[in-house]
Amino acid sequence: MKKTVITAFASGLLFGLGLLLSGMANPEKVLGFLDLFGAWDPSLALVMAGAIAVGLPVFFIAGRRGRTLLGGQIQLPTRRDIDRPLVVGSLLFGIGWGLAGFCPGPAVVATGAGEPKALVFTIAMLAGMLLFSFVERRSDG
């Protein structure tokens, strides 16, 4: 098996365990964070802080190296423009996030935990992604 397949699996595993440990695989806890004007649970902010504390030096190093430890190319996004799709897409995502308390990662992890409702959300989310690529491909001509 290719090394990059094993490392990607390890990455997904770490990411999933982190979501479980932090409580972010639980939509009730995420909605507790989004309920800024009710009884507010700040936990999600600390999850982001913990992840970014690791991410900052790692992305700095990655940006300078340009190559992975296995010798491959490091692909970083290059766009810097703030356009309509970025804002409108993020608005739609935020509304969906606020309705159910699920974003993509936690939905997949909760599906792995055997939650039927998480599976239903994930299928709808994948359908939304497919619908988007279908429309995008058609408008590209």
């Binding site: 990607a8 990455s11 940006g63 970083l76 935020g94 309705l99 159910a100 599906t111 792995g112 690529s133």
Partner: protein, 144 residues
């Protein structure tokens, strides 16, 4: 705004965040890719040649996390109180929105902010603002 001290779990939140950061680090430094989950899932659906293997492996890693956890400890609580029609609507919005906006909480929130990307900062402020507003409307205006 009042802080719900009973629900607030600072230590497990920080520790879980660090694990998420480490997962991101592994994918970046060994695969050279951004751990943006909506991008990974969306990419699986559109099947870019040469990119399917690692994306599938990452997704399987996310899926088997709970099984590995269960070997050591009972799973933490997962409460989904949203009804099925709303869950489907929310799923569609998250699917379309994350692809149109090129990212979600992981790609824009964790990776983008770690890269100090202005695009990701705008995206994160936008989806968090929309999330706060949605919960405010649902819980405090409609009283659901």
């Amino acid at each position: 705004m009042t802080i719900d001290w009973n629900a607030f779990t600072p230590y497990s939140a920080l520790a879980g965040g660090v694990l998420i950061g480490l997962g991101t680090a592994v994918l970046l430094l060994l695969n050279g890719r951004i751990a943006g989950i909506s991008g990974i899932l969306g990419g699986l659906l559109t099947r870019t040649p040469g990119e399917t293997g690692w994306r599938l492996a990452f997704t399987v890693g996310l899926l088997v996390g709970p099984a590995l956890w269960l070997l050591v400890h009972a799973l933490p609580p997962i409460h989904i109180n949203t009804g099925y029609p709303l869950l489907v609507a929310a799923g569609l919005l998250v699917g379309i929105g994350t692809r149109y906006g090129s990212g979600c909480t992981s790609g824009h929130g964790v990776c983008g902010l770690s890269r100090l990307s202005p695009r990701s900062l705008v995206a994160t402020l936008t989806f968090m603002g929309a999330g706060f507003a949605t919960v405010f409307v649902v819980r405090h205006l409609l009283g659901v």
